[in-house]
Each structure stands twice: as C-alpha cells, then as structure tokens.
Amino acid sequence: MNIIIALIVGFSSGALYALIGVGLTLMSVLTRVVNFSLVAVGVFGAYLSIRSAPLLLTLPPAAQTAITVVIAVIVAAIVSGILGWVEATWLSEATTTARSAVTVASLLLLISLSFILFGSQPQPLRPLLIGPLFLVGQVAITKVGVAMLVAAIVVAIATWLIVSHTPLGVRLRAVSDRQTAAELLGVNVKALQVGVWVAVGAVMGLCVSIIGNTAAADATSMITLIIPGTAAALVGAFKSLPLTIIGGLVVGALQGALTAFPSTTQLRDWIPILIIVLFLLWNQRKEVWDVAR
C-alpha cells in the first residue's frame, strides 16, 4: 500500500518530466537538436516576468497575474527564438551534436544570467494553480501535476494533429526528412525552424508560470529539471511522444516510490541516470554507425 501511495507521490514531478520530455522530443524530431536550454528559457521568462510586479500594483489581481504570465510566455518565446535563429543561420547543416553543443553553451549562459538577475534565494514565483485536486487515501493529487500531464498530452496531440493533418505539418515533415531538398523546393526552412523554437519556448514559459515554485525553490535548481526530462525523452528514443510521456511518469513514480524508503534518499537523484543507462543499453543492442554509408 505504501508503495502505491509513494508512486502517486511521484506523479506531479513525473507529469512535469513528461512535459519537458515532450518538448525535447518534439524539437529533436523537427529541428535535429537536443535542447539542453529548454527548461532554462521557460524559467528565465517566468522569473523575469515577476520583476514586473511593482509596475502592476494598481491593477486588479487577476490582470496582474494575466500580464505576468503573458510576459513570461513572450520572454521565453523570444529567448528560444533567438537560439533557434542562431542554429538556423549558422548551423543549419551541422550535426545534431554540434547543434546540441550550442544549447549547452546557452544553458551555461542562461543559468549564470539567472543567477545574476534572480540570485540563489527562493523567489516568490507563485504557481497559478495551488493545492490538491483530489485525494487518493492520504495522498493529494495536485492540480499542478494534473495540469502538467494534461499539458503534455495536449502538446503531444496538438503536435500530432498539426504535423499529420495540415499544410504546415507537411512542410515540417519535409524539412525533418530532407532539409536540403525542401529548401530546393522553396520551403522556408529557417522560418519553420525558428517557429518551432518560438512555439516550444512559449509553451515552456507558460508551464513554468503554472508550476511556479512548486517543483523547485530557485531558478537554478528548476533549470536542472532538464535532466529527468532528457531521461523521459530517451525512453521515447527522442522520437515517440507517447513513450516519452510514459517515461516521464515512470521516472517520477520511481523517485516517489523511493520516498517510501527513507534510507534510500541518496538513490533518488540517480533514478534518471539509471533509466538513461538502462535505456541506452537496451536501445543499442544493434550496431549503429555515425553515417548511413
């Protein structure tokens, strides 16, 4: 019984990992990059938006919240868009490794900027949704957790709908299949890629605003949520959105399960790594080479 409760304890974080994983997978498929800055842009937007609070004091609370969230979304979208523009301009033909390396550099940049601007002290980043949605025995299923899972599923389904049923999706798939061939047919590859970066950045800005400081107390520790997020994305091999969502929930559940055994708290931080390791071992049974020929 304890274990089941413990599994549920991990649900909220698992749902968040799933959402981050979905963002990573989406970007990997559509723009050939493992975006290590994904969470960082959202955090940056959300934390910057609460700086606007003093200017909004005269407005009603609901308007204050709404404007703050809009600012967070816009900032995250812009920062992400700039990164995407850098990638699309100078690294449009580079390998996934080289493209991902840029996001490592921008991750360093965003972490240190967050440090300078927001400090390492906990910030009053109020979550939009507070409290439990319902109780399972003694354990609360939080609104935030449910919202994240819903967001992950909505993003996944919306992506699927757009990609497989719209002219925009046809273009996105064409670029993902063969970028050069698409360019030769006049497809605006750069705009599409930057568009993906902007959209994913906006989603991350919104989501970080929703979760507020429920997942981590300060900007830097929030940015490190990218790690369990990559574990989730790896379960889906950076390709499958449903598997990624499941992966995120599993990582969260395992971490939650370990809270049932206080002596194992050390292990909790190693759960994402273990999942990553196991997955890589399973995924790489077959010989794979760097190039097709």
Partner: protein, 592 residues
C-alpha cells in the same frame, strides 16, 4: 624525398622534454619570486589547466560532449580524502602518500568513467552529453548530502610535508607545476601515439576507424576513461591546494563552464589548455576585485562558446592557423611538387598480375535487403589470390553495398563469405580488418587532423616501420610523411588511403572507386602502380571503378553487377565483349 629527416625526428622527441624542463624552471622562479596571492591563484590556474587537458581528450581530440569533468574531480578528491582519513595507508606510504593516493584516486575515477561511458558505448555525442549532465547533477547532490570525509574539520596534509601557510603555497605551486607538466607530457605523447590517432580518427569518422582495424568502442571508452583519470588528478590537486573541500568547490555549473571553455580555446592543445586555465581562474578573480558578480564570467564563456560553435573554430586552431600560415603555404607547395612528380614519373610497365590460382575470398549467395528493396540478390564470386578483380556496373547497381557487406558493415545479410578459408560471419568490421580484410571508401574518410605519416602508422596498426611507410608513400607518389593531411587535396587523400591500407599488407583490399578525383594522367600512373601492388605488398585486390580503361588495364577478371545481381563474371576480354554487359553498362543505344 619521402625518407624522414633523422635530425628532425630526433628533435621531435627531445623538444617536448626541453619544454618540460623549461616550464619547471620557470615555475620555480615564478613560485618563489611572485607575491603569495599571485602564486596561490596561479596554482588554481594550473588545476583548471589539468581539468581542461583531460576534457580536451574527449571534446577536442575525440569530438564528444562531456559535461561532468568536475564530478570526476570531486570523486577523485573524495577518494583521496577517504584514503587519508579513513584508512591506515598514510602511515605506510609516509611522505609519498599524497602522490600514491592521487594515482589511486585517478585510477578509481577512471574506472567510474568507464562505467558511465559503457552504456553510451556507441555514444553519439548527444547521448554522452545527456548522461554526463545527469551524472554531474547526481554526483553533486550525493556529495552535498554525504559530505567529504574531512567533514570541514580535518585538514588534508599536503604532499612531502609542505606546510599549509603561504610558504607552503609556494612549494605546493611547484608540486602542481611538476604534476601539470607530467600530465601535459603524457597527453602530448598519447596524442602522437596510435591511441591518439584512434581518437582523432573516431572524431572524424567511425567507419573509417573501424576499417583501419581499430575498435570504435575502445577508442571512445579509452578517451573518456583517460579524461576521467585526469579529472580525478585535478580533484586531488584541489584538495592539496585548499586542504579542505566541500561540494561547492565542484558545482556542476563549473563543469558546464569548463566544457564550453574547452570548446572555445581548443583545449586538446597544451598551450591553449593553459590559456583556458588562465581565463577560467583570472576572469572571476578580476571580477571579484571590482565586486561584480562572478557569474558574469560564465555569461562571457557562454557567449564565446556560442560564437566558437557557430563559426566552427576555436582560438587554438585560429592562432595556429595565423602563426603557421607561412609554413602551411610551404607545405602546400611541397605537396604540389610531390603531385607533379606523381604525374610525370614514368613507372616501368608491369603486366597484369595473374595470381596463384588459389581462391582467397569466396562469396556465396550474398543477399542484402533494405526493407523491401533488394540491394544485392544471390551474389556469388571468387577472388583468386594475387589477382586484381574488377567489380563494375552502372551507378546504383549495388557495388558499394557489396563492399559494405564484405567489410562487415551490414551484418544482417544472408549468404556466406570466407577469407582464406576462414568464415567472416559474426566478425565486426575492425575484426575483419585485423584478419587481413581491408577496404577504402568512396567518401573522404582520412582524418585531416593528422600528418600523412601518423595516418599510415595508425592504419598499419604500427606494423610498418618508417622505411616501409616511406616506401608505400613513394610507391603511389603520395606526399611526404611529415605533411599534414589538411593541406592535401581530396583526390590525393584517397591515394594516401590506398597507400596506407596496402602498407598494412592485408590479404585482401577492397578499393571503392579509388581513382575518382584524379586527372586522366594520374589515372594512368595509378593503374601502372596498381598492377605492381599485389606482388609488392602481397595483397590481393578487388577494385570498384567507373573508368573502364582503368579496369581494362589492371584487372585479369571482371564481375559485372546490374540491379544487385551478377550479370556476368569471367576473364576481362570475355566480359567486356559480352553484349549483355555492353547494353547494361554503356551501349544503351540498343534500347531505342
């Protein structure tokens, strides 16, 4: 002209040692002449330099993303402290304890590095990035909760009884200089060795590496483990410097910073690692003086990193390119000259080799399918020892697929192949290369970061002595062994690849369009040389070639592929006059 200059070779061995002794002398003067504060900061520079050197092996030389260099340092530091405080070993080793423990800590860290690297074995660079970022965070929180063995109460004694005061700082600086010099020398030597060549090769092409008989897995893992070893050493040096550490010393964000800095400066180069170390330590020190948040240095590194990555360059190679431009021009001129020699040099006409008649490679019913598409259907052929077999056919007929399958890159094929009576099934490409089956590639798979000679040493797996290497290069009119491959044009690089693989003296060499990119004159010279190759190197050859003149002038037997099937096979004259071949290969006029 290809014979290495012995004086120059000797100076290459001694020069690094002269540098090393000079560095230690300079370090002594610096350590005992400068103000205490500067000496202390300089020790930090050296430690950062050692970290960067370790990282340079993975990121610079082997081309992967590793984000946990300071986690290795923290593990090394933890082990060193543990050995000092929790075991009776310090009484055993006395004054040498620090050194001994440092090596032990480095070795254990290297083993941990192996364990981390193992699942990412065929690590695409990104997988390694994901896993090392996770390790960085997990090690950080673990160490945070566990604490270091010193528990912020005990101090770790410095090596050789050095005191923990400013006077001891000077002695410790000298110690750090010596360790840094030893690490730098070792890495320099390794980079010039066969394993270093394997790292450079794997960064450029995995397939090329495997075909040279080197396991891609071993190359990557050894790079990562060595980097972890050096990381562990750096951690121990930090303990010795400040004698008491906590998790803040090794925060993951600094690992990110080191990685980015390593990219920015190109820290596989010794001098650039020193420069990177200076940047890493001195910029925050300066910011501290002006009471500016230290994180601005990381912001700067982030911006520099993006700049370096988007322009695909780093300070080290940039500075070198500027410094050595004249030398490169001179070398390029030498390559030109060598090329001229290749074109005009007349080689005595040799007859087409006829071989011993013994079957060497037997391929039976080879079928390769890619999904629903059959790339090869029921291909059977025999290559006789000592001959040159031509494999021809229109573009897309499956010739390169054939070479891939025989070379071990398509293990899912059906049918069998055996070399010299030994079945090839189940052997990985590098194992086939070691068993005497080599191949060259249609694409450029010759890593430009090496010299011609280093490449030949790598491909021959050290079995060819300098004379044999010079001989193989001269045989094909290739540039001198000391020329960097980066100044050699693509066509000539392909020749160097052929020369290197012949110098490895395999039983069978598969050549995939070796002459594409050569001029017509060079074609003829190449054909002349190729005819003598089976006798000269004891190697049987299978050649894929488009130029029928070349095929006609070197091959005794020809096999024609068309749509993945053998259309004709037999001696040269019969095959080339077969009307089926004529219509499939060139005479499409009959179709109209």
């Amino acid at each position: 002209m290809s014979l290495a200059n012995p004086q120059r070779a000797a100076s290459r061995v001694w020069l690094p040692l002269v540098f090393a002794v000079g560095a230690i002398l300079l370090g002594t003067l610096f350590g005992f002449g400068m103000p205490a504060y500067i000496v202390f900061v300089s020790t930090s520079v050296l430690i950062a330099m050692v970290s960067l050197l370790g990282l340079g092996i993975v990121t610079g030389t082997a081309g992967m993303i590793a984000l946990c260099q300071l986690s290795f340092a923290s593990i090394g530091a933890w082990i060193l402290e543990f050995l000092y405080l929790k075991t009776p070993l310090p009484t055993v080793f006395g004054a040498a304890s620090f050194l001994v423990f440092m090596v032990i800590a480095g070795l254990i860290t290297a083993v941990l590095g192996l364990v981390i690297g193992l699942p990412a074995l065929r690590l695409r660079g990104v997988n390694l990035a994901v896993i090392t970022l996770g390790v960085a965070a997990a090690v950080d929180t673990t160490v945070q909760q566990l604490g270091f063995p010193d528990q912020s109460t005990a101090h770790i004694p410095r090596p050789f009884g050095l005191s923990s005061d400013p006077n001891g700082d000077r002695g410790y600086f000298l110690f750090a200089v010596v360790i840094t010099v030893v690490v730098a020398l070792a890495i320099y030597a390794l980079q010039g060795s066969r394993i270093g060549a394997a790292w450079k090769s794997v960064a450029f092409s995995e397939r090329g590496t495997a075909s040279a008989g080197t396991s891609v897995r071993t190359a990557k893992l050894s790079a990562f483990a060595l980097s972890a070893f050096v990381g562990g050493i750096a951690g121990c040096l930090i303990v010795g410097q400040i004698t008491q550490v906590n998790y803040l010393t090794f925060t993951p964000i600094n690992s990110l910073g080191l990685y980015v800095l390593s990219i920015v400066v190109g820290s596989q180069l010794i001098d650039m690692a020193l420069f990177g170390g200076i940047l890493f330590v001195v910029i925050p020190e300066i910011l501290k003086q002006f009471r500016v948040p230290l994180e601005w240095s990381s912001v700067a590194f982030g911006v520099l990193g993006i700049q370096a990555l988007t322009s695909n360059s780093n300070l080290g190679t940039g500075v070198r390119a500027a410094l050595f431009r004249r030398r490169r021009l001179r070398e390029a001129a030498r390559v030109e000259a060598a090329g001229d020699v290749a074109a005009v040099e007349t080689v005595a006409e040799a007859p087409i080799p006829t071989g011993t008649g013994r079957p060497l490679l037997i391929v039976d019913h080879l079928t390769v399918e890619f999904g629903a598409v059959k790339a090869l259907t029921d291909v059977s052929l025999v290559v006789e020892e000592g001959t040159i077999l031509g494999l021809i056919g229109p573009n897309g007929a499956g010739k390169s697929t054939f070479v891939d399958a025989i070379g071990g890159f398509l293990p899912q094929h059906t049918g069998t192949a055996s070399l010299d009576g030994e079945p090839l099934r189940g052997l990985a490409p590098h194992q086939r290369a070691r068993a005497g089956l080599r191949r060259t590639f249609q694409q450029d798979r010759v890593p430009p970061s090496m010299t011609v000679g280093a490449y030949l040493r790598f491909v021959t797996r050290g079995k060819a002595d300098p004379a044999a290497i010079a001989d193989a290069l001269q045989f094909f009119g290739c540039p001198d062994a000391s020329i960097p491959l980066s100044v050699v044009d693509v066509g000539t690089r392909r020749l160097v690849e052929v020369a290197a693989n012949l110098a490895a003296r395999p039983k069978l060499l598969l050549l995939d369009e070796p002459a594409a990119g050569l001029s017509h004159d060079e074609h003829l010279a190449f054909a002349n040389r190729l005819r003598r190759a089976p006798e000269h190197f004891g190697t049987t050859i299978l050649i894929i070639e488009h130029d029928l003149d070349l095929v006609r002038s070197v091959c005794s037997r020809i096999t024609v592929l068309n749509f993945g099937e053998v259309l004709a096979s037999g001696d040269r004259a019969t095959v080339l006059s077969d009307p089926k071949v004529v219509s499939a290969y060139m005479g499409e006029t009959e179709m109209l």
